[in-house]
Symmetry: C3
Subunit: 424 residues, 3 copies
């Protein structure tokens, strides 16, 4: 309808291609990227419909028949361990008249039975039974629709596209060298918390990709950050020189600990320019230097895998578009961000400890989860502020600070993805 002379202050009706073309590197995106349902639909297609998405951990489906259901945009997907111990993924939709099949977030089944007319599927997806059908009914035509799925050292990724990006094998192999010693397939879920943030999924990811907000925003998290974190070396004030010396020593010690054990240590930073973009790095922690706790001491006495020291800092892994995670010597904490609507995002946090660790003996649950429960809640507040602001017609894209370069990388990767499918 519309058709009136444009107010220069009003949001212009823009095509997605012109929005992409106008993107200004080093600046936050225009408002439509965070608020327009059409862009959100494009995100679900071009990003979440065509890339590897982190959705769960193997620890969540330890036994045959164990399943989780995850929602990616409007799509519900079943992740299930079949009777051959293989991980499978299927559309959570009956092939008869479309009823939702599994309605719980997790559980365990023998077969998958539709609640409407009792069509029954095997955990491998094949249709076992559909009652009262004519003789020529071919069950093999009505198995569950499969979804590509793979585990990267215990982290489960799915891809909704018929042809997933083919660069994930190479990424996975390189990451395996870092993750291997932590043996995630030999862990259990100590806690899992879902938080619905009132922000577009990209604001949630952008918030994760910088620590410019950490000093004021995350007092608990920064307990184990060196006070010089984020400072350029040449700008470190005199009063922080002792802390800087402490940092250099800790980094040296960590490098030695890793090289003694043959663990890779170097930063790999490939956050743009490829479909399966990622970043991995091991960094020293301040305080006791062992874990992501308030005082930095290990939260679990049972170290992961066969690790022989708690002082391995934090191994941080970021995958585009929807994952960040930290692997400590004593536990792992992994995060997925899944878009629910243009302005709501599910952030799922999972804490993993050694399979044999016993709650109350080896670890205290509150102590294990304290830092990231607080940090997530703080981030949810900050992201909601950002969503409210960018939804205001008074919003203009603003400049990223130098320490926000990974945010700029995230946005660059995102624009690359859209550009591949949007007609210029």
């Amino acid at each position: 309808m519309t058709i009136f002379a444009p107010n220069p202050d009003a949001t212009a009706t823009s095509t997605l291609s012109s929005l992409i073309r106008r993107r200004r590197p080093g600046f936050s995106l225009e408002a439509e990227f965070y608020t327009d349902p059409t862009v959100f639909a494009a995100d679900l297609d071009a990003v979440f419909g065509r890339h590897w998405i982190f959705v769960a951990t193997e620890a969540e489906i330890a036994e045959e028949g164990d399943y989780v259901t995850v929602t990616v945009g409007k799509a519900s997907v079943i992740i299930i361990r079949d009777d051959d111990f293989e991980i499978r993924a299927f559309r959570n939709v009956c092939r008869h008249r479309g009823a939702r099949l599994l309605n719980e977030e997790r559980g365990s089944v023998g077969n998958i039975v539709c609640g409407y007319h009792q069509w029954t599927y095997s955990p491998d997806g094949s249709l076992l039974h559909a009652k009262d059908q004519p003789a020529d009914f071919d069950k093999s035509c009505f198995g569950l629709r499969s979804v590509s799925v793979r585990s990267e050292g215990g982290l489960i990724f799915i891809c909704l596209a018929a042809e997933p990006p083919n660069d994930f094998d190479e990424v996975s192999a390189r990451i395996e060298a870092y993750l291997g010693p932590h043996q995630l397939t030999n862990t259990k879920v100590a806690a899992q918390i879902d938080l619905v943030e009132h922000a577009n999924w990209k604001l949630v990811m952008e918030n994760n990709r910088e620590c410019y907000h950490c000093e004021a925003g995350h007092p608990e998290l920064t307990c184990t950050f060196f006070p010089t974190y984020g400072h350029a070396v040449e700008d470190i004030p005199t009063r922080l020189l002792p802390a800087h010396a402490r940092y250099l020593q800790a980094e040296h010690d960590l490098e030695t600990a890793c090289s003694d054990r043959g663990y890779p240590y170097e930063l790999i930073h490939e956050l743009t320019g490829r479909p399966s973009a990622f970043r991995i790095q091991r960094e020293a922690l301040d305080g006791a230097g062992e874990s992501y706790t308030i005082d930095g001491t290990a939260a679990s006495q049972k170290l992961l895998g066969d690790l022989d020291t708690p002082r391995l800092g934090r191994l941080s892994l970021h995958h585009q578009p929807n994952m960040w995670s930290h692997f400590l010597a004593d536990h792992a904490v992994v995060f997925s961000a899944l878009p629910l609507d243009v302005d709501r995002t599910l952030v799922r946090t999972t804490w993993l400890v050694h399979s044999d660790a016993v709650e109350g003996e080896d670890y205290d649950l509150d102590n294990l989860t304290a830092v990231w429960k607080m940090t997530n809640a703080q981030d949810a507040g900050l992201c909601a502020l950002a969503q409210t602001g960018v939804s205001d017609p008074g919003y203009l894209p603003g400049p990223y600070a130098p320490s926000e370069s990974d945010v700029d990388d995230f946005v660059t990767w995102y624009i690359e993805r859209l550009s591949e499918v949007v007609e210029p």
Copy 2:
């Protein structure tokens, strides 16, 4: 906006005409029919705006001035009995500045007075008073807008179109022969329950049009169904042969009871190919064989009309697009489905008993309503499963079973209706 290369898995932006053209007989409809607001708007126009819709019973407006208000899509309609005992229907909108006139679901009035500026209308729709108007104000130009209305043996239908389908007289006459003995105009409302189902109105209707889900889904309802219900004769297992013999005897007894009394008995099945499509049939019940109760005995001791036996089975009447009903010897239970939004539908259930039946003496309300209260609640859950599933981008239309042929008829009728107004 959009304009990006189509993901074959994503819902295509389709015109209504191409959706209609792509319809595959014998399979459920594509997702847009159940989820797209544009299709919903077309449904309100092409189906609910142009056909006879079942909305109430005469028993609800027994006296002069009694009214009910019903909502069809976004339209509110007043059904009122005027001072000459005629049934009238009007748009529930003031002709002055558009205020809603009657804001209760039912009641009784002398005149209809607008709450905003007190414009006052007679129950026959004429404007009686509008204060402080100039001398040349012509009240006759501002009467209420009338809506076509008629009663089919006590069942009230309205049509929002200026020219209603002209085949309803013939339908009505044929049905009258079946309904007549039950004398619905000599009934009262024993109970009426509204249920908002979280499903598109077509899923609600499709669910009603099959009993493929009854065995597992409706344990109470199927108490009075013969165990062989839905089985092809040649597929009846040996263990059910006694039940089949019982069924054949009951059908024979029912036929005799009807022919002795001159009641029609045969199935009329005209669910497609005409605007006022319908189906009517009298069938025997199992158990005591008298009524829709858990044990099949009559719920009301005061039989309808002048009926002299409780053993008349169930007379079932289905009207397209929004009605099903069952007439027993002792009571009637009638249902209307009215669309509220693309994914929400009001199901109104009304139980009618003889006007002279006394609650607590002739009937127990819990016993009368038990089976269909349970059945409705079960159906609401099943329809919600279906709505959730067809809203998932992983949904594909699936094949109807042989016992779902009335569902296919419903869909065929619906596509016929759309086809009449959608440009190819």
Copy 3:
């Protein structure tokens, strides 16, 4: 999608220009003006984005650093008194990454600090601090975006357009002569109440612009209206002639009181034909004749400004598009209507008394606010009836009564504004 043969009863898909062209003077607007999100977006642009909007009173930001935030459509605006006692207005959006800055409705600050990354702005809008920026970062480029703001005798108006209408100076000067004696800058807020009405902002304004509904709708308000209010002189019934004589005497007394003191008294009625359209008039009150209370006696013993008599009737000021207000000798009550969504409007009512008036001594809060609390609640109910009705496809525009001529003026002004920006 659509593309089906139009049902003459269904809402046509209309362009805004054809809706404007079809407007019939003397009749209420077509439904789309009250219900269509596209028209609402046009209203936010053409009306609320380009005209002076009443948003607050100076009494609300009495001290340096005091602020209020107001929401106009989707835009949040900060109104703040800076350190030089100037009133300033800014977009409530951080220039870094767009976070909402001030999240309370009112408060007091030294500087404006963003909660996300602590960018810090002066109350004059300049960016004072943004941490960890490169040497070439130019703070002067990232001050808050200013919004035009002005006070008309203590009433604060903002304009979101870069070039506000230039006729407000002249309007303001003429109104000043009326408002001056009430000295609004020497008042304090006795009460402020927000009410969210479930109606389009134009229905809220139209309701305010007529008293055709008052006799039945507002029993408390009409206590101080003469019983002949709204009657043409020639139509006054015999029984009301004594009341009419009382009215003529009261108007005579009021005219004398005003002319003795040099207060203007005459009606100025310029509700159409100009951007900053308004109406102002002083009228006598019935009962004690002093104030808007149930019995008409003054609610505050401390009269406004230097007024020496409570018998100055009501001075009523209407601004298009969103304001009405009444200035009594003892207090003022001012209203702003701000659109929240196509069918929701915030009505903010502020009662002002003399700065030195003491609650419990000079005035009783319940007595001061009783009439308009009741009247607002009644209007909210009536506007909701109207919104429900005009949203019904059965609605047709209807004729205004002669006493609704200011409603017609409001609609005429509105159509003038749209016409300036909508391409024919």
